[in-house]
């Protein structure tokens, strides 16, 4: 803890930490000193010269004009922001910047939330004294996400400092010199970084703007916004979705110091447009007849009651959702309970279920520290196991990049090289299912080469973290990583452990007290034992383990926000609002419970899925069950402080949940396969269900297909770009990519969600 000292700012004494950045001090205290190049995430630069103030080392010493961002607090320092000369100087800097800035505010997409506008007003620069021509530039095509308008540039260097220095992107630079500095790519082309959208926020003016947002004219002040949490992965970035009329126009990150701070990934930022799809559901549909949601609820409640009466309570089961809130999933159990059933399956396979539940229980036991995003940034050793962080939990990747920038060694054990591998100290490519063995070797100490290198680095680290994917259904790996972290964790040297998951609330449903394997439910549905399935926000018909069951089950109720394979074939469809219009609580990878809220938007459904379900339960006469519905009964959690999870409010930093039960014993590793093992390749763009439907994300998604290591391809006489028929060997065929970055013995299957082509069925009432 740094020493507390006193400084005087504009005549008022403030207590600050010695060495603190003066500009940040002032901003924290609500004094808005004009500034451009300074950004808290990137630190001071000293280039824009706007944050000037008169600073004296002591009251009896003469002050002089200094940049507050470049000045560190020392005892007795006197800072005069309102000094006459400093005020004049700041105005003069704005005058400089406005010499070449176009006066296009009325048509600029940044207008209304433009830092340059704000600073110009604050410094009271009103009169243009120059009479010379302005410089002009050609703009670049930067892909479907970010629009480029160089004439507005004020050369603050924020973009390159963010994109290159912070996010470690390689294709955006500062070119040229003097008053002709250009920020862009070497040539036109799609920005390569998965975090390019943050350029829009870091750019203080309208050089980088949201290409999707500007497509339909909207002013930022015309947007309706309720703070929410991103639904595109398990990181749980806080967001501000902006709606205009009936549509979601954009998503911006909402600051949350405990989670995503200032930034978010492109999948999250641009993945929300599924909300606007024409296949968005607004009416209920029962046996092909469109009706009001209320009427649909009546019909469904009656039908379910009828089945329960006819076939007994065991004839009804629920399929829970990893992308729906804790509340919605709890409401599903309430409906089932009202019908006398307790059969729910939230996962796609038993393997996924085991892995996620084990990981979530380890996390919630709080035996080991779970690093938050800011915590990950400070790690001095990172081991990433089993998955591709950039694709499966993008913002974890961005946090790891910060650790890498601070020279933390990064080790990756996974079947396939991803974006993060180029920053790794060492990567080990190994076939799926073999990772657990390697982790055990590391834990055992000794070993050689990679294993020894990791073990040695782990030993000397002061704040190590280990990250593990649960997206590939490897519970043995989850267990092995837990053992490794436990062995490395001591009182004076805590070892952080984080698991990440498939969907926004996987970690939440993984802590459900009641959850069974989908295979068991599928079997009973196929055998006819189960007559009715209530499917909550989930395209179960597209899941291999459940597709047949859905097709064969007598009565399927689908509750969702958009039309998909499941709603298409369902006996009854009940519409719910999409995530960004909905409310509830979800658990992110840390087991952080975060509440999100939403808005009622015309042209869509009116109820959250939790409300739809509670309405059904009510119709079933289960008001007692609803009254007594307690999170703690449904999920094995309380908050760390012992309070109920239900009390969390939107915009809080959330609360880490805690479970009283100890993690279950991990299953022993499956014997290593001697043949080829299939592995699902997740991509940042196109693999996650909801965001994949968003047009800009769909545009960036790679084609579906198969991947093989060059050796495996050669031994099968297959070559790159060919349509490979591996039906005999693996039951799949597809366009083959030969990838040297894929481990030998791995059949890579690209998970690319295809947009649902089925149009809304024309129905007549």
């Amino acid at each position: 803890m740094a020493e507390k000292i006193k400084v005087t700012i504009d005549g008022t004494e403030h207590e600050v930490e010695a060495g603190e950045n003066i500009l940040q001090v002032c901003l924290d205290k609500g004094m808005l000193i004009p500034h451009f190049c300074y950004h808290e995430a990137m630190g001071p630069l000293g280039a824009c010269r706007l944050c000037a103030a008169n600073i004296a080392p002591a009251a009896d010493k003469p002050g002089r004009l200094e940049m507050t961002c470049m000045t560190r607090a020392s005892a007795g320092m006197v800072i005069n922001v309102n000094d006459e000369y400093a005020t004049k100087f700041r105005k003069s800097v704005i005058e400089d910047l406005m010499l070449n800035h176009p006066h296009d505010c009325p048509v600029c997409d940044e207008g209304g939330e433009c830092m340059l506008q704000d600073m110009t007003v604050i410094t009271e620069h009103q009169h243009r004294r120059t009479r010379f021509p302005k410089r002009t530039w050609k703009n670049q095509y930067l892909g479907p996400l970010v629009h480029h308008e160089m004439n507005r540039c004020i050369t603050c260097y924020r973009c390159v400092r963010y994109y290159g220095d912070y996010a470690l992107g390689s294709d955006l630079g500062a070119y040229g010199s003097r008053n002709r500095v250009y920020f862009g790519r070497l040539n036109d082309g799609v920005l390569e970084s998965e975090f390019s959208g943050n350029l829009i926020d870091v750019c203080p003016t309208g050089v980088f703007t949201n290409k999707r947002f500007r497509e339909v004219y909207t002013r930022p002040w015309d947007l309706q916004t309720a703070r929410s949490v991103c639904v595109s992965c398990s990181v749980g970035c806080n967001v501000l979705p902006g709606f205009r009329h009936t549509d979601l126009r954009r998503i911006k990150p909402a600051e949350n110091d405990a989670v995503n701070k200032y930034f978010m990934c492109d999948r999250g930022r641009y993945g929300g447009e599924f909300v606007n799809l024409p296949s968005r559901l607004s009416d209920a549909r029962v046996s092909g007849t469109s009706m009001m949601t209320e009427d649909g609820i009546d019909a469904v409640a009656a039908q379910l009651k009828d089945i329960a009466t006819k076939h007994g309570a065991g004839a009804i089961a629920g399929l829970g959702s990893q992308r729906a809130s804790l509340e919605a999933n709890a409401a599903l159990t309430a409906v089932l309970k009202a019908l006398g059933s307790d059969r729910v399956a939230c996962f796609g396979s038993q393997a996924d279920r085991e892995a996620a539940r084990l990981a979530a229980s380890i996390t919630a036991s709080r035996e080991l520290p779970t690093p938050s995003l800011p915590g990950l940034e400070k790690a001095d050793f990172v081991l990433s196991v089993g998955g591709d962080l950039t694709a499966e939990a993008p913002m974890l990747d961005l946090a790891i990049r910060q650790a890498v920038r601070q020279k933390a060694p990064l080790f990756i054990v996974s079947p396939r090289a991803g974006s993060l591998d180029k920053f790794a100290t060492a990567s080990l490519r190994t076939a799926p299912g073999t990772e657990a063995g390697i982790v055990k070797e590391i834990a055992a100490g000794g070993g050689k080469d990679f294993v020894a290198q990791v073990a040695t680095a782990l030993k000397s680290a002061k704040s190590p973290v280990i990250l593990c994917s649960t997206l590939h259904g490897d519970a043995a790996l989850v267990g092995a990583v837990y053992q490794l972290a436990k062995s490395a964790n001591t009182a004076d040297r805590p070892c952080g452990l984080a698991y990440y998951y498939k969907s926004a609330n996987t970690a939440g449903v993984a802590l459900a007290r009641k959850d069974e394997s989908p295979e068991a439910i599928a079997a009973d549905a196929k055998s006819g034992k189960i007559k009715a399935l209530v499917v909550l926000e989930r395209n179960a018909a597209a899941e291999p383990a459940l597709a047949e069951a859905i097709a064969q089950c007598e009565y399927v109720v689908a509750i969702d926000c958009y039309e998909n394979a499941t709603t298409n074939d369902a006996s009854a469809v009940l519409p719910c609002v999409a995530h960004y219009q909905s409310f509830g609580t979800i658990l992110n990878f840390e087991g952080r419970a975060q509440h999100f809220s939403g808005l009622n938007i015309p042209g869509s459904a009116t109820m959250a899925s939790s409300e739809v379900l509670l309405n059904i339960a009510e119709r079933l006469g289960a008001s007692e069950i609803i009254q007594g519905l307690d999170f703690h009964d449904v999920y094995d959690i309380t908050t760390e402080s012992g309070k109920a999870v239900d009390g969390i409010r939107t915009g809080d930093s959330g609360a880490l949940v805690k479970s009283d039960s100890k993690p279950t014993a991990p299953p022993s590793a499956k014997p290593a396969s001697t043949g080829m093992v299939a592995w699902h390749i997740h991509h940042t763009f196109g693999s996650e269900e909801l965001s994949a439907m968003s047009p800009p994300i769909a545009e960036l998604a790679p084609a579906a297909g198969l991947e093989l290591n060059p050796e495996d391809a050669k031994s099968r006489n297959l070559s790159d770009g060919q349509n490979a028929d591996l039906t005999k060997e693996f039951g799949v065929s597809g366009l083959l990519t030969v990838n040297a970055g894929l481990a030998k013995g791995t059949l890579g299957i690209r998970v690319i969600q295809t947009a649902v082509s089925a149009p809304r069925k024309e129905v007549t009432a």
């Binding site: 000293g46 280039a47 824009c48 010269r49 706007l50 000037a52 004009l65 470049m70 100087f89 003069s92 800097v93 400089d96 910047l97 010499l99 070449n100 004294r129 120059t130 009479r131 010379f132 004020i154 050369t155 260097y157 500062a174 040229g176 010199s177 003097r178 008053n179 002709r180 500095v181």
Partner: protein
């Protein structure tokens, strides 16, 4: 007053500069300074430099011994770097060219002494692109020095090693700023770095680094060979050493002369440069390369040393006099001067990047008869404004600019008035 030739012992710029060979150099006492240095401890060599009162010859005149004293020494085990700044691009300055083209071994010996004193085992000579031939001369001289045991490993019977590379710059005035030079040498855009940390602590590749000017290094062999007191005796009025002084512009005999530090400016103008070139009286002198404020004839008796010139309101800089006569239009000259700064600004910070081109636009407009009545007040504002930049580049530009619009304000005003008069139909 007789001038002892020290740095120019082997160089006669008026006869055409050819590189002094290794043999010639040694015959004239070359590498004796290095030999003397290696008989001392590194600390003792540093002390000699400190005692000599040698001040940096790159323009700022910072005491070399003091600059060196911040370099971590005994307990520091990492790599340290020695860099010679031969990015001579200051208009009106052409002394380093003569020193490099004329006597490359003198520079190498100076660097060897500094390297030993600071225990820096790797060095670079950062030379501007246009001195490509000089770079070749230096490379050849380095090979020769290596052959004779003055570069490489196990130097002069010690375990000390010194590896010296010649880096040919890709051309940019800002590279003369030491932190920009370091960035450039690292293969980056030559934007200056913030100080602190100072290069002595965290410089090239984050390691302790010293950057000294060519002429500064060239003095060292002589200081080590003859002692600090001898060096101090070379200058006038308590100034240490000689200085290569130059004159260009409106003088009859432009050139370079090695003169005692502290010689009156008038001596250079009238004795060495032989007075005005076209019979018109001198009007102004920029004393130390372009980035120093103008001085006027009544100040010509000012001694050419750091403190005296500073007292007269300018800076000694590189001691390359740029001379204007009564026939020169100061508006036109100011436009030329500001064009240089606008073109060479690195583009990093706002007042320099945007402010100087604006100044240039206004001065050009005034010169073209398009001045407006508020222009002088904008120029006054801007002359203060450009002082608060990230590095010393724009304050350097302010030197000649502010003195021009102050001293020769009537010329600017006359242009503006004549336009107003023309607009009003009066002539």
């Amino acid at each position: 007053m007789t001038t002892q030739k020290v740095l120019f012992k082997n160089i006669d710029t008026f006869k055409g500069v050819t590189p002094c060979s290794y043999e010639q150099y040694v015959k004239g006492g070359g590498y004796e300074g290095a030999k003397a240095a290696f008989k001392k401890t590194p600390h003792e060599v540093q002390q000699v430099i400190k005692d000599s009162n040698l001040r940096g010859r790159g323009g700022a005149g910072f005491p070399t011994g003091l600059k060196w004293s911040f370099v971590p020494m005994d307990n520091f085990k990492g790599q340290k770097y020695l860099i010679c700044n031969c990015d001579e691009m200051e208009p009106g300055t052409f002394k380093d060219r003569a020193l490099v083209y004329g006597d490359p071994h003198q520079l190498i010996e100076g660097m060897l002494i500094a390297a030993y004193a600071l225990q820096m085992t790797k060095g670079f000579i950062f030379i501007r692109y246009e001195y490509k031939k000089g770079a070749r001369i230096l490379e050849e001289a380095c090979a020769e020095a290596k052959k004779h045991g003055f570069l490489g490993k196990k130097l002069l019977g010690t375990d000390f090693e010194f590896e010296l590379d010649v880096h040919l710059s890709a051309g940019r005035y800002i590279c003369g700023e030491e932190t920009a030079l370091i960035n450039s040498l690292e293969g980056k855009r030559a934007n200056p770095r913030s100080k602190p940390p100072f290069p002595q602590i965290k410089g090239f590749l984050g390691q302790p680094t010293i950057v000294n000017n060519v002429e500064t290094f060239c003095n060292m062999p002589h200081i080590l060979a003859h002692g600090a007191d001898w060096f101090k005796g070379l200058g006038l009025n308590g100034n240490a050493g000689t200085k290569i002084m130059g004159a260009s512009g409106r003088v009859k005999n432009p050139g370079l002369w090695e003169l005692p530090l502290g010689v009156p400016m008038r001596d250079i103008l009238e004795k060495h440069a032989q007075g005005p070139s076209r019979g018109k009286a001198f009007k102004a002198v920029i004393p130390g390369g372009l980035s120093t404020p103008m001085m006027t004839p009544e100040q010509f008796d000012t001694p050419m040393d750091f403190d005296s010139i500073a007292k007269a309101g300018s800076r000694l800089g590189t001691a390359g006099l740029i001379v204007f006569d009564e026939g020169d239009c100061m508006v036109d000259s100011t436009a030329n001067i500001m064009k240089f700064y606008a073109r060479e600004s690195c583009g990093f910070c706002t007042p320099c990047r945007e402010g100087i081109p604006w100044i240039l636009d206004i001065v050009r407009a005034i010169g073209a008869g398009n001045g407006e009545k508020d222009d002088m007040s904008i120029l006054d504002d801007m002359s203060k404004h450009i002082m608060h930049t990230f590095c010393a580049f724009a304050p350097g530009a302010q030197g000649p600019f502010l003195s021009a619009i102050t001293t020769f304000r009537s010329e600017f005003e006359a242009f503006i008035k004549s336009r107003e008069a023309a607009a009003a139909g009066v002539n």
